[in-house]
């Protein structure tokens, strides 16, 4: 499976994302610059964390208007898996590919630590290697991770099982502790925690690896026929 790691000016988790799929999973990965106008050769799209365009205006707002985002939208329409982590999640909400928005943490602090996450929906292409209700340990590193949406949107998210991860504790003010959501079709996941930083016990944990394995497994089942 071949992944595109989209790189914006100010992305800083692109190397970790690349490492996770290339070195830990042995899949193909390439960096793709934000002005690219062709993502046809890729099976999955990864939007990494960081501070694209210095978080100017609003987090993800300027990246959202990049040329490559038109291609990301086409990939979403084509049903390809699209994963946005941290700033990637913010970009996906700003682009309208996921509902809601990420506000400043309620305590106004940048928070960097490992937290407990509950897998709310293990029936997505991103989470099929986890068990429903499983608690995993994943690092967070954000100042704007306070997920907000209005009541009607929240009801929709609940009804369609779009809430994929929630925090074990409330520390940033996110509505109902939401940490990650998928779109209605289920092929776009946005999450604030960093699974790509938890792919090896050597670096403090490997609970994030199953997320990438899930994507690859689902893709193999759909695209590779075994004799």
């Amino acid at each position: 499976m071949k992944f595109a790691v989209i790189v914006f000016p100010g992305s800083n988790c692109d190397l970790d994302m690349y490492h996770a799929v290339k070195d830990e999973l042995g899949e193909e990965a390439e960096y793709v610059w934000h002005d690219s106008t062709d993502l046809n050769g890729y099976d999955g799209i990864l939007l990494p964390g960081g501070f694209s365009y210095g978080d100017y205006l609003r987090c993800g707002a300027i990246a959202q208007s990049s040329a490559v985002m038109d291609e990301v939208k086409k990939a979403v329409e084509a049903g390809k898996p699209v994963l946005g982590i941290c700033n990637g999640f913010q970009i996906l909400t700003e682009a309208g590919l996921l509902p809601g928005v990420l506000l400043r943490n309620k305590n106004l602090k940048f928070m960097c630590k490992t937290v407990g996450l509950k897998v709310e929906n293990a029936n997505t292409l991103f989470t099929n290697e986890y068990a429903e209700g499983q608690e995993i340990q994943i690092p967070i590193a954000h100042g704007e991770g306070n997920y907000y949406c209005d009541d009607a949107t929240y009801e929709q998210l609940k009804k369609n099982n779009q809430i994929v991860f929630s925090y074990a504790d409330d520390f940033n003010g996110s509505r109902n502790n939401i940490a990650g959501i998928v779109n209605e079709r289920g092929n776009v996941l946005g999450m604030m925690p960093h699974p790509e930083r938890a792919v090896s016990d050597l670096i403090g944990g490997s609970d994030g690896l199953a997320l990438f394995k899930s994507i690859v497994k689902q893709w193999r089942e759909a695209n590779v026929s075994h004799a």
Partner: protein, 84 residues
Amino acid sequence: MKKVKIYVTLRESVLDPQGSAVMGSLHKMGYAEVEDVRIGKYLELMISDDAQDVDALVNEMCQKLLTNTVIEDYRFEIEEAVSQ
């Protein structure tokens, strides 16, 4: 040339932790009269006279980039400006 002054504010339904922190500070300083603080943004755009419908243009830019209408409201004023 026209000068457009855009005021962006958080919607009333959205909590403003920054505003709350500033209000807490004002209270500590003795300004007990302050009942609420909301923090927003102010933008200035200079628009060339070639623009046909500045009103529609600014609305479009606000909706596409300058504001996020999920959490923000905006209003703007258009003034005549002399180019320097």
